[in-house]
Symmetry: C2
C-alpha cells in the first residue's frame, strides 16, 4: 500500500461518522481490535457482490453502497442479531475517487442509521466487486436459526415480496414495463434490512431467513433444516398491485433480492405478531403453514397446486 | 443458492476437518455464531486476492488455497493474535469442482496446522477472486500495534526477505533466472505465517507489521504511526545467496510477498530475541534501528545512503 491506495483508504475513513466504544482499534493496522460484550455471541456474515451480477456497473454508486451493506445487514436481521461492525474488501478497476465518494455516501448513510462502524478491509485493483462482512451481537442461545420450525407453525413474510424481481424483469425486458416500474425499482436498488424486526423476533420466531434468492429457495432452506415442508396459499402473498397485470405470483416467489424476512411462529404467537406489526409499522403477513411432508406446495385460491419451484442459483449450469 | 451452488458449498464443508468448541454454529445459516473467550479481544483482518494480480490464474489450486490463508493469518501474526476462525468469499468463473477440491486441500492443510475453522462465507460467479477474513484472539491490551516504536528501538525481521520478490522478477523475466529459482519460488508460492513468533512477541516487541508490500513500505508504516524514522544497514539484511549474483538489496526491500514479520524492540530485549530465535528455530535478524528523524535511510557498508524507496502500490497510477 502506498500513496494512492493510501488516499483511497483515507477517503473511506473520512466518510465514516460512526465511532463505537467497543472498537479498540479500527482501520489502519494489521488487524482491527474489537470487544464482544459479555453474554453475547458474535454473529457474522460475509457476502460478495459482483458487478454485472448483483448490481449493474452503471448503477449510481450511492445505490451500490447502500445495497451491499443492506444485503449484509439483512443476514444479521435474519438471526435476530444487533449490528455492530463491518469490514469491506473493495476491488476497483481504477482508483476513481468520485465513484468511491458516492459509494461511501450510500454506505455510510445506512451504516449511521444502524450504528455500524467500518473497522477494516482491503482495497485492491481488479474487476469491480465488493466483499462485506457484518458483525453483530445476539444474547447467548437467543439467535433465530433456520432449523427450529415444526409442523403446524405459521409462515410469515415482512412487507411485500417480488417487487425487486419484477423491477429486474422489466429492466431486462422479460416483462413489459408498467408505470409502477419507478416504485418497484426502489425495492431492487434500496432494500431495507429488517434489523428491528429480527431483534423483536428473538424468543418468538421458531425459524427465520432473509429472502435473497426468492421465497421458494429460501423457505426451502427452513424446510430442509427443520426437516419438514410447507404449504403456501398464493392469494395470501403480499404482492404489489403491479402483479395483477404485469406478471403472476410465480415470479414473486422465484425472483431474489427481496431482503425481507421469512419466519415461522407457533400459532399461539399470532397476537404478538399482530402487535409487533403495529409497533414497527411494518406489514407482517401469514402466508401459510409448515407441515410434516417435505417440499413446498403453492396452493392457489382455486385449489390448484404448484410444487418444485426454485429460486436464484448462482451457478445455474450445474456443478458436476 | 440452489443445487449446484449447494454442491460447491458441500464440498467446501466436507474438506474441513477443524472443529472448535467456540463455534456455536458454522456454515449453513444466515450467520455463523461464535464465542470470544473472556479477557480476549477479537482481532480481525480481511484480505482480497485477485487472480492475475496476487496469484497466477495458472498456479496450482493447492498453492492458491495455501497462500490466501497464509497471507490472511500473517496479519494476525503481526498483532500477536492467536488464529481461531476464517470466513471466505469465493468468486469463481465456473463451478469447477476439481479446481475447488485442490484449492481446499491447500487451504485446509494450513488451517489444520493452526487450528483454524472455516465458519462461513459466500460463493458467487464472476472473475476469480477470493476474500478471506481471519479472526483471532489476543489478551486485552496485549496486541502489538504499528505505532509503539520509539527512537533507539532495534528493527528486526524474521527468516529472510526478498526471495518471493526475486522469484517473481525471474518468472516475469525482469531478472535472468538462476538455479535458485525453484527454491525462491517456494517463498512466493507457499509463505509461512509467523503465528508462533507473533504470540511470543506480545509484551516484547514495541511495534510489528507483516511484510506484504516490501520492507520499505511496511517499515514505513511503523515509522509513520510511531512518528519516527529508521536507519537500515543493508549488509545486515537477511538475503539469500541468489542476491549476490542475480540482483541487489533494493529489490529485496521494495518487492512484496515476503509475509515475514518486521518488529521493533527496546535494546534491553536483545537477549530475549536471541533466545526466542533459538526456541522457534527461526532466524531473527537485527537490521537497524529507529531514529527521531522521519523517513528510512538504507545505509550500505561503504557508507552510501539511499532513501525514498517505496514498495508495492495496488494503484500505482495515482488516485486523483
Amino acid at each position: 500500500m502506498s500513496s494512492s491506495e493510501f488516499d483511497l483508504i483515507n477517503s473511506i475513513v473520512r466518510s465514516q461518522s460512526v465511532r463505537r466504544d467497543d472498537v479498540t482499534l479500527g482501520i489502519g493496522d494489521d488487524c482491527a481490535l474489537l470487544n464482544v460484550p459479555t453474554g453475547m455471541e458474535l454473529a457474522i456474515s460475509l457476502d460478495t457482490l459482483v458487478s454485472g451480477r448483483h448490481f449493474s456497473p452503471d448503477a449510481a454508486p450511492e445505490l451500490i453502497g447502500h445495497k451491499v451493506l443492506a444485503v449484509n445487514l439483512s443476514d444479521l436481521a435474519a438471526m435476530g442479531a444487533e449490528p455492530a461492525w463491518v469490514t469491506m474488501g473493495l476491488t476497483l478497476p481504477d482508483p476513481d475517487e468520485v465513484w468511491l465518494a458516492g459509494f461511501m455516501r450510500g454506505f455510510s448513510a445506512l451504516a449511521s442509521i444502524h450504528g455500524v462502524q467500518l473497522v477494516g478491509g482491503d482495497t485492491t485493483s481488479g474487476p469491480l466487486s465488493i466483499s462485506l462482512q457484518a458483525h453483530g451481537f445476539v444474547p447467548v442461545g437467543k439467535a433465530i436459526r433456520r432449523g427450529g420450525a415444526t409442523p403446524g407453525d405459521l409462515v410469515y413474510v415482512s412487507h411485500k415480496i417480488g417487487d425487486a424481481g419484477l423491477a429486474l424483469a422489466m429492466l431486462q425486458g422479460r416483462v413489459a414495463p408498467t408505470v409502477e416500474l419507478h416504485m418497484l425499482r426502489q425495492s431492487l436498488e434500496s432494500p431495507q434490512p429488517r434489523i428491528e424486526l429480527g431483534i423483536a423476533l428473538r424468543g418468538v420466531a421458531t425459524a427465520a431467513i432473509d429472502l435473497s434468492d426468492g421465497l421458494a429457495s429460501d423457505l426451502g432452506h427452513i424446510c430442509e433444516q427443520s426437516q419438514c415442508g410447507a404449504e403456501i396459499e398464493t392469494h395470501r402473498l403480499p404482492l404489489s398491485a403491479a402483479f395483477d397485470t404485469a406478471s403472476d405470483w410465480r415470479l414473486a416467489v422465484t425472483a431474489g433480492d427481496d431482503y425481507e424476512l421469512c419466519f415461522t411462529i407457533d400459532p399461539s404467537q399470532q397476537e404478538n405478531i399482530a402487535q409487533l406489526s403495529h409497533e414497527l409499522d411494518l406489514r407482517l403477513t401469514c402466508i401459510g403453514k409448515m407441515r410434516q411432508q417435505p417440499g413446498i406446495d403453492f396452493i392457489s385460491a382455486d385449489g390448484s397446486c404448484v410444487s418444485g419451484l426454485r429460486g436464484y442459483d448462482h451457478f445455474p449450469e450445474g456443478g458436476r
